[in-house]
Structures are given as structure tokens and as C-alpha cells.
Symmetry: C2
Subunit: 214 residues, 2 copies
């Protein structure tokens, strides 16, 4: 059955890999599944046809026959559960890999999104300059904890898993902020993720649909 | 095998059910599993022994024999996957219930946490009064979308699931803000969750360990 995902017709980041379809593409590439992409404009994303699949008016979505899913974490999990390569077979190891999937999206990413909002949505507000350091410190607190746990390991818990895929994806958002480079082991961890052939293919595919800036 | 979860020795909300152990207790009550609770002080939460189980120094955690998990969503999923009552049997329905679990924690809760931070961490900042309406509007945007999707249904997708358990738990955080009451169907949905006997037992259990304020 053909897998169809959605992606931005024009990615807000111009194809730097931060749009969340990159995460789904990466998962599909890791397990070797072919897929098609339907591009959606920012306008169409808020219209009834797209909202019927994604009630929050975002990308990516995932369609496979009668099944339609939204929410990146759930899509990555759906892929990981059905195809070898993203979740360990051992029951406890599997539970811990799923734990890191949730940790990436609900513990590590929220302060990073707050930082993005502070810049994108409130960058022109009078409080922006004074507030930004506080928001950056909240990100730092999380990174410090994650860095302590990762230590010198290659991946969060044994072999590369869907937990690493999401954690690396979340950390990559921080590259422009300079915060990631404050934690050498996390920067190396994210670079290890980026170096995976599956990530490279996913990145190239999402870049290809985003015309270079003139 | 005995299940042991952790909870606040003294919950910051004084036992109003907002501490995340309530979510795990609720899941355990829904599937009828007995459990024990180990209370952790705010200090102990940041010490090595607890950090070994929960690298981000929070509660709840979940221990069962050799398995130790943190991250509420992952714990609820672990319970739901192994015991009937929280996930549908049909494959597509199951995938959609998991989708709502991720949606609750990574799409709906983050703006609600931003609002909590705006009040708790930045309430005394000079920008607080002017900024708060913006943050409330971001929560409203999400609630509007969720409200449109829920419509007049009892639960998000067919029967009550772990997706509803987490979504209701997330929405309950909004009660003091007045925002939930702006969306009658969401307020009724959250009340339906609270009315479940399993929620009532979970709530009573976490309240019992929090002595009433003198």
C-alpha cells in the first residue's frame, strides 16, 4: 500500500531540515520504505480538506490505505512498530526506546519551542531582549541533564533507535542558537545522527523541494 | 511483579491532581493494576539516586522488576500496551489512539506549559501583564482546533482510550485559567474524564498523601 506523507510546499526554513516531515522521512529511510509526498501550501493547511486529516493544521500527515495519521511522534512510532530497525526486540529495551521518543517530544522539545516562539513570535516585543536570556537558560537546564545522561555513549540507550531519531531531530533545531555547541557530547551526538545515510537521504529529499533562495 | 511509582512528597499544587503521577495512577486504575508509591522530596528529586532513574529529575517514574521508566506518556503507553482497557484492538483504531496520546503531550500541552511558566516563573517580571494575553491566545488557538475536532463526541475517537486519558489530564491544567470554560464541549469532555471511577480513585489517592493546608 502506498505511503503518502505531507510536507510544506515552501518550508519556512527554506529546506534546512527543521520542518517535521524530515523526521518522518528519516524514519521511512531507516527502515527502507518508499513513500510519496503531497505538498501543502500554508493556506491549504488551514482549509477543511487538510484539517480533516490534521485538526491542528500542520504537517506532516501519513496516509496508508484507509489509515490517516497526524502527529510526528505517532507516525514515527507507527513506522517503527511495523518495520525492523527503529525499536529493539527485547521488551524492556523497547519500552525504554519509546520512553526516549516521548522524552524528546514532551520534555526536551517544549523549552526549545519556547525559545523559537520568543524569537519568531515575540522578537519585536519590548521585553524580548531582556526575556530571551531566561528562556535560553531553561533550554540549557534541559541540555545539561540530557548531556549528563548521555555521557560518552553514542546513543541514548544501546543501539540507535526511534528515540535517538526524535532526540537528534529536536536538538538540531538548536543549531542556530549556539546552545547545542555548549555541550560537546550533545553536539557530537546530533552530528552522529546527521551523518547516518538515512538522515542524509531524508534531508536531501526535503531540500530538493525547497528552491534555493534567490 | 510489584509496580512502584514515584510521586511528590508534597505536591506543588497541594493535591489538586495536577502532578503527573495522577495520570499514571489513572491509567493503572483503568486497567485494574495494584501499585505502590514511593514519595520523593523536591530535594531528593535532584540527587543522584533519583536522577539514575529519571535524568530530568522529575516524577513520576515506574519500576517493575528490572524495568525502570520515566516520562508519563511512555509509562501510560507501557501500561496500555500490556493490559486491556486503554487501547483499541483494531490496528488502525489503536494507531489513532496512540496519535492522540502524542497530540496531547506534544501539541496541546506545550502552549499550556508556556502559560504556566508565564505565571509561575515570570509572574513578577515587568513584562508579565502585557505578555500574558499573547500566551493565553496561543492556548486558545489550540483549544479552538481541538474543540472543532471533538464536536459533540464523548471521546476523541470512538471509545475512551489512553489518548483521552492524557488529553483530559492536559486540559485539566487549564481549569484555574478560565480558558477551558470558553469551550463548552471541551469543558464537558474534561468533566466526563474526571467523572470516571478510575480517575476518582486516582485523584483521591494522590490527594490523600497531600496534607490539607493548615
Amino acid at each position: 500500500m502506498t505511503i503518502v506523507i505531507t510536507a510544506f510546499e515552501q518550508s519556512p526554513d527554506g529546506g534546512k531540515g527543521l520542518a517535521r516531515d524530515t523526521r518522518v522521512r528519516w524514519a521511512l529511510e531507516e527502515v527502507g520504505l518508499p513513500y510519496e509526498v503531497r505538498l501543502v501550501s500554508l493556506c491549504a493547511m488551514k482549509e477543511a480538506e487538510h484539517l480533516a486529516i490534521h485538526p491542528f493544521g500542520q504537517i506532516p500527515t501519513y496516509e496508508e490505505g484507509d489509515l490517516a495519521l497526524f502527529e510526528t511522534g505517532a507516525i514515527v512510532f507507527h513506522i517503527a512498530e511495523r518495520h525492523a530497525g527503529l525499536l529493539p526486540v527485547d521488551e524492556s529495551e523497547r519500552a525504554r526506546a519509546i520512553m526516549w521518543m516521548f522524552a524528546a517530544l514532551s520534555t526536551v522539545e517544549p523549552p526549545i519551542l519556547e525559545l523559537a516562539h520568543a524569537k519568531l513570535l515575540e522578537g519585536d516585543q519590548p521585553w524580548s531582549r531582556e526575556r530571551l536570556p531566561l528562556v535560553r537558560d531553561r533550554v540549557r537546564d534541559r541540555l545539561r541533564q540530557l548531556s549528563a545522561r548521555l555521557g560518552e555513549a553514542d546513543w541514548l540507550d544501546g543501539a540507535f533507535s526511534a528515540g535517538d531519531l526524535l532526540m537528534v531531530s529536536v536538538l538540531l533545531r538548536l543549531k542556530p542558537s549556539g546552545l547545542l555547541d555548549e555541550f560537546a557530547n550533545l553536539a557530537a551526538y546530533a552530528a552522529r545522527g546527521e551523518a547516518r545515510p538515512a538522515y542524509q537521504r531524508a534531508f536531501a529529499a526535503q531540500l530538493a523541494i525547497n528552491a534555493p533562495m534567490p
